[in-house]
């Protein structure tokens, strides 16, 4: 007698109405792949957004002053003069001389460790921060001011040399978002096909349940639940796969040690968003299943 009890402990035992196995098949795997790809694409999109935001926050008000002079004493004198002049200029919130140690560290990967006297002359660097985003007007004014006290000074907005990088990052970001959209669409299409097939193979059952007084909602719920189980299993696997890939990629980029990449690191909110992808996927799959079934049933009396 026990074997005749419903296999699913669910209200109305509707899960019994269609055979579960027939709906599954490759469905969970298709969903797993979709979710994994979506997680990777979304992680990339989030990382690019973070990079763009952090970098532009840090750089839009930033200017760099280089004092290019081969004579160390003259270079230091001009650097100090430029520093004083900058600090006195309204609109400049902060100006610091980048220490020699810092500069050495920055150029070491390219030029090797400094070898004391006679090393390649390196410009002095001043990092300054403006209250407002850098405008061409402001840049021109600063250049004029510095020309008198430090003729060897070259003033650049930090954002100008990063413009192409920014636009590339922006493109990548939109690409990732578009990819997520395309993947969601593909998932819905895959579910649609699976449900259509299942509707076909279970047509007689559906008709019988229909004639025994089953409602469209009841029948739709059976399919919705079957797809829901498939999607939840596939989603979990997909999320795990996707996260492994994201973590590995993150580690690899982190190894580059470049500031831009670490500024794209994912925050906890980003990780929550990624974890929500399979949940949204399950929702999308169930919604698609429901709509498909209801639309098919509307054609029956």
């Amino acid at each position: 007698m026990a074997s005749s009890l419903p296999r699913f402990v669910s209200p109305g035992a509707e899960a019994e109405l269609i055979p579960q196995g027939r709906l599954s098949g490759p469905m969970p795997w298709v969903i797993a792949i979709m979710v994994a790809l979506t997680v990777i694409a979304a992680a990339a999109g989030l990382a690019f957004s973070n990079t763009a935001r952090n970098a532009s926050d840090a750089l839009t008000g930033g200017i760099t002053v280089q004092i290019v002079n081969a004579n160390p004493a003259e270079r230091d004198r001009q650097a100090q003069a430029a520093l004083r002049s900058l600090r006195a200029t309204p609109g400049v919130v902060e100006a610091t001389l980048v220490s020699q140690a810092e500069i050495d560290r920055l150029i070491e990967p390219w030029l090797g460790a400094p070898t004391g006297e006679g090393a390649i002359p390196v410009p002095a660097l001043i990092d300054a921060r403006l209250r407002d985003p850098v405008s061409g007007e402001m840049l021109g004014q600063l250049r004029r001011t510095l020309r008198d006290v430090a003729p060897a000074a070259r003033v650049d907005a930090q954002s100008t040399w990063l413009k192409p990088v920014f636009s590339a990052i922006g493109t990548m970001r939109w690409l990732s978002i578009a990819l997520v959209g395309v993947l969601a669409f593909a998932l819905a299409a895959a579910v649609l096909l699976a449900v259509r097939t299942a509707l076909g193979t279970n047509r007689e059952t559906i008709e019988i349940v229909h004639l025994l007084g089953g409602t469209d909602r009841q029948i739709a719920r059976v399919f919705q639940r079957a797809i829901g189980f498939d999607a939840a299993g596939g989603g979990a696997i997909g999320l795990a796969l996707g996260l492994v890939v994201v973590l590995l990629l993150g580690k690899q980029f982190g190894g580059l040690g470049a500031g831009l990449v670490s500024s794209g690191a994912l925050g906890w909110l980003d990780w929550i968003l990624l974890a929500l992808i399979p949940v949204v996927g399950v929702g999308l799959a169930m919604f698609t299943a429901r709509q498909t079934v209801i639309r098919a049933l509307k054609k029956m009396l």
Binding site: M1, S3, S4, L5, P6, P11, G12, A13, E14, E16, L17, I18, P19, E204, T205, E207, I208, V209, H210, L211, L212, G213, G214, T215, D216, Q218, K298, L301
Partner: protein, 245 residues
């Protein structure tokens, strides 16, 4: 139309049915069924019995005419209200239509599950019903593992398990031996005494004589003849078949 006659369960008024663009398979069919009645529907093969029953169990809409069931206009009734009406009807399909992947038990339990009856209130009635039709030991068999007659009995058990107000049976004794036929007829009569309106389509004339109180409808090439006039619609006598309840 008339809502004078109290309590008819079914009214057909000038109903016609055609499949596609073919000729009408039912023409000018008018009749009334009263609650608690026991009706036989006879006629040669192809006369339109199954077609008429399909209209009765709401699997088909007529091409013309008016149908009222359980006090609702079955023609204009919105689609979403049909399931509630269907649950008041038990159907034995001519070709059984058991769900092939469900056991005999689960097939019989189906109307209860569709109606949302709790599992603990399903087990015993279903087992009892299967025992009554002599299938206690075949409870877990799939339809494909049952003989034609056994499948028919499962179909009948499924049609009556939820005590429908109306039972519609299409050739319900076509595949069973005469003894089982009589036994099943007794089941229908027992249900009928409990208040279920019974409509049985059959070409077995011997069956007709078995139920003395029954009324007979004859279909001949899609036209209904009503020898006794008891089924006339609009009815001359409001309730020809007394206070059966």
């Amino acid at each position: 139309m008339s809502n004078a006659a109290e309590g008819e369960i079914v009214q057909f008024d000038n109903v016609g049915l055609r499949y596609g663009t073919d000729r009408e398979v039912l023409s000018n069919v008018s009749f009334t069924l009263f609650p608690g009645g026991f009706y036989f529907l006879t006629g040669a093969s192809g006369a339109g019995k199954t077609s008429l029953l399909k209209l009765l169990y709401l699997a088909q809409r007529p091409s013309r005419g008016a149908i009222r069931m359980f006090g609702s206009d079955a023609i204009t009734l919105p689609r979403e209200r049909l399931p509630a009406l269907r649950r008041r009807i038990g159907v034995v399909f001519q070709e059984f239509r058991l769900v092939s992947h469900l056991s005999a038990f689960d097939n019989v339990a189906l109307p209860l599950r569709v109606a949302g009856v709790a599992e603990r209130e399903i087990t015993k009635p279903v087992a009892d019903m299967l025992e009554w039709v002599g299938l206690a030991d075949r409870m877990h068999a799939l339809p494909a593992q049952l003989s034609g007659g056994e499948q028919q009995r499962v179909a009948i058990a499924r049609a009556v398990i939820h005590r429908p107000e109306m039972l519609v049976a299409d050739e319900p004794t076509g595949n069973v031996d005469p003894d089982m036929a009589v036994k099943l007829l007794r089941l229908f009569e027992a249900l009928n005494r409990l208040g279920t309106t019974v409509v049985v389509a059959t070409h077995d004339v011997h069956l007709l004589k078995r139920v003395p109180d029954s009324l007979i409808m004859r279909l001949d090439k899609g036209r209904l003849s009503d020898p006794t006039g008891a089924l006339r619609y609009p009815p001359r006598v409001p309730r020809p078949k007394g206070e059966a309840l």
